[in-house]
Structure formats: structure tokens, C-alpha cells
Amino acid sequence: MIKEPLHKTSRRCAIYLGCTALLLTFSGCAQLSIKPWVKPYERQNLADPIMQSNRHAIANMHVAHVYEARESSRGSEGGGGGGCGCN
């Protein structure tokens, strides 16, 4: 059995603690009956078309494809992938 490197163990602990804190936070919210604080009639700014990060979906799909072909990172982008085009 290989001993897990220290930095991985630390990362694992940090994730455990982070998730626990998150769950406790939201459990607390539920018990305190926190109500939604931004009312529907207060959301006109967020509903403005210029606030849509995916306003140009077809362009975003191309951007994700370009980066995924040239970089090792993948995931959490909502698009990209597909074939190679990388040589």
C-alpha cells in the first residue's frame, strides 16, 4: 500500500472541512428559515440581456473548443470537446 503524499492528504482534509462547513451553513440557513432576500421585482438588472454570460452560445462553444484543443485543462466549461484538430 503506497502512503498518500502529504499535500494530497492536506487537500483531502481541506475538502472534507470545506464540505462540512458548507453543509452546516446551509443546514443553519434552513433551520433559521432564511427567506429569499432578492425579490422577483428586484431582479431586472440581473435579467438584462447584457448580463447573460452565455448570450452568444455559438461563440462560447467555439471558444471552449479552441482552449480544450490547446490546453490540458478540461471540465466545468459547459461545452468544448470533440475530435482532435490538435496536431
Binding site: R12, I15, F26, C29, I58, A59, S72, S76, G83, C84
Partner: protein
Amino acid sequence: MAVTNLCSLVNIWFFNVITSFTAVAVLVTLVNSPTVNAAVLTSDQADVLYHSYEGGGMKIDGPAILLRKKASESLAVSAYYYVDTISSASVDVLSTASPYTEERQELQLGLEYLHDKTIMAVNIRQSDEDDYLANSFNVNVSHDTFGDLTNLNLGLAVSDNEIKRNGDELFLETSRQYRVSAGISQILTRNLSINVDVEGVADEGYLNNPYRTVRYLDANIPAGFGYQAEIYPNTRNSFSTKFSASYYLPYRAALFFHYRYFSDSWEIHANDVEFNYRHPIAKVVELEFKVRYYQQTQANFYNDLFPYKDAQNYLARDKELSDFDDLTIGIGVTYLIPAKYNVSDWRSELSLQWDHITFNYNNFKDATADVAVGDEPLYEFSTDVIRAFFSVYF
């Protein structure tokens, strides 16, 4: 030893994914509250795009079409068609082969169903080129909750790939990819919303590029070095976490930010950060500015120049697996076509986006340079990426 190590990494990856899923699932349970229905399907839209990528000895361009149509208030269909026409004389190609041209076509078909506050979406996709065929299927579920201040989403995707090698009729390999994603979107104030997304990706099978080679020192060869085929592990597991924020500025402009951290079982660690600023002018023009910085470390089996042939059990000299960074500077303009020029009162727009990307490699050298082996300059290149598209909302 290697198998045990891999099992350990897979365990960590599974732990990350399962923890994320558990967190999201518990949040759904805890913060669910009855409120007005706000979930809606995206409006009907058609986009026609021309894209171009030019730099590093490569020219890639072609058209793309995206069509979305609601069949009813609760059902929408979508289709996406994309073509890459590739003409390549990149540094990888020039060092061991001849320039080539090829074409890649991609087709996606999607279906979205809205029920109360939940949107369920399925999507099938095929990407086809001479030497690579990818078929994938994905399912996504998103749900509005907590007075519609919160949106939760979960996704699952599977992709099967067939890899061939042009000029070698007997070569046929396969690979499979699984993707699991989860995300939470939260409205914090009347001007600010944030997102946290995580995604785990697991690959198994043939993960090499069948054309690429590694260099190794060999005094028996006149050039002083030789080439041998790359050998990659047959599995790769990765995990990414992305934090993003959108902020509405008081003079009607928008600011977007994201940071993503990525790591995988090949010991690659990467970070990228991006700022976007969108500014409307006189109700007919929108300007967009983008700055993005990306940095990654190298895979643990990467080397620009190996000391001898078969120096390791895994070998790579793929510059995408090396230590490098890149910087993107982008600008975009959208012209909102005045109503009097629109057909059937359909709103339409013309957009042009230009990105300039500079890549700097920290341990990938230009093997085409005419100097002694090992003394070549570090490789760097820049590329221009252009997108011109027309959108109609009907």
C-alpha cells in the same frame, strides 16, 4: 506499484465527485421552498457563424450553425452543426512529418423538457474526421429553488472514440470518456450572482496522439538524437472546480469573472482566470473586452529530450502536456439591427469577436531550429481567433 498508485488517485477522484454530489443533493433538500415558477426554456434562436484560427503554422476555419426551437412551452429542440477545415504545418508536424489538410464535422441534437422548476436536457453528438470518430451522449438536470435565487444542476456524459492513423489501414484504437458535473448558481444581491461548478472526467483506452513522437539523445545518429512513438497511460482522471461571478454596473454594463483550478492523475495542475467587460452604446452596439490568463504544469511523464531510447515506461513530448502559459486579449462588437430592418419583427444581431492568444512554453523547445540538439530556443507562438456571426431571435 503503478497500479496501486492509480487506484489511490481514482479513489481521490471518486471522493471528490461523490462529495460534490452529496453537497448539491443535500442543498436541494435543505433549501427547497415553494415560490413562483421562474424556470423557462430559452427563446427560439438561430445563429450562423464563421470561425477562423490562424497561428503556429495552422489555419483552421469553417462555418457553424445553431438552431433552437420551442415545440411548446415545455419542450424545445436544438441542432448544432460545425465544420473545421484544417491546414497544418505546426512545429510538431514539421519536425517529423509533412504538412497536411483535413476536415472535421460535428453534429449535435438536443432535447429540453421543462417541468415546473426543473429542466431536463439530453444531447447526442458526433464528431467525425478521417482519423477520429467520437460519439457522445449527455444528460443534464437543472432546478430552480430558494425563491429562484438558487439554481442547481447535475450532468452526466459518456463518449466513445475510435482513433485511426492516416496511411496505416491496420491501425485502430478506442477510448471512452465519462464526465460527471455539478453546479450551483446563486443570486447574492440585485446586481451580483455567482456560480460554483465542478466536473470530474475519467478517460480509459488509447489516449495518445498516434502521430506524435518523443526525442531522445543518441550519439549513433548523425543528428545526435532520434525519435520514437509516444506512450501514454491508458487512464486519465481529472477534476476541475470553477468559480464565476457576474456583476451589473450602475451605468448598465456587465462585468464577468471566473477562476478555474484543474488537476489530473498525470500530475498536471492548471489555473485560469478571466475578466470580461460588456458595455452597450446607444442601444444598438455592445462592446466586449476580455483578458484571460492560463498556466499549467507538465505531465509527470513529459520530457522535451529524453536521455536515451525507452527511458521510461510512459513517454510524452506533446507540447499540450508541457509546462506553459498563455494569455488571451479579446475584443468583440455586437450590432443590434434596428427594428425597421428586421424580418417579421424578429430581433437580429451581427457580431464580430477577435481573440489574440500568446503561448509561451517553458520546457518545449523548437526542434526545427538549426542548432545543436538541446540548445534550441524555447518554443512560443501567437494565434488570432476570429468569430463572425449573425443571430436571429424569433
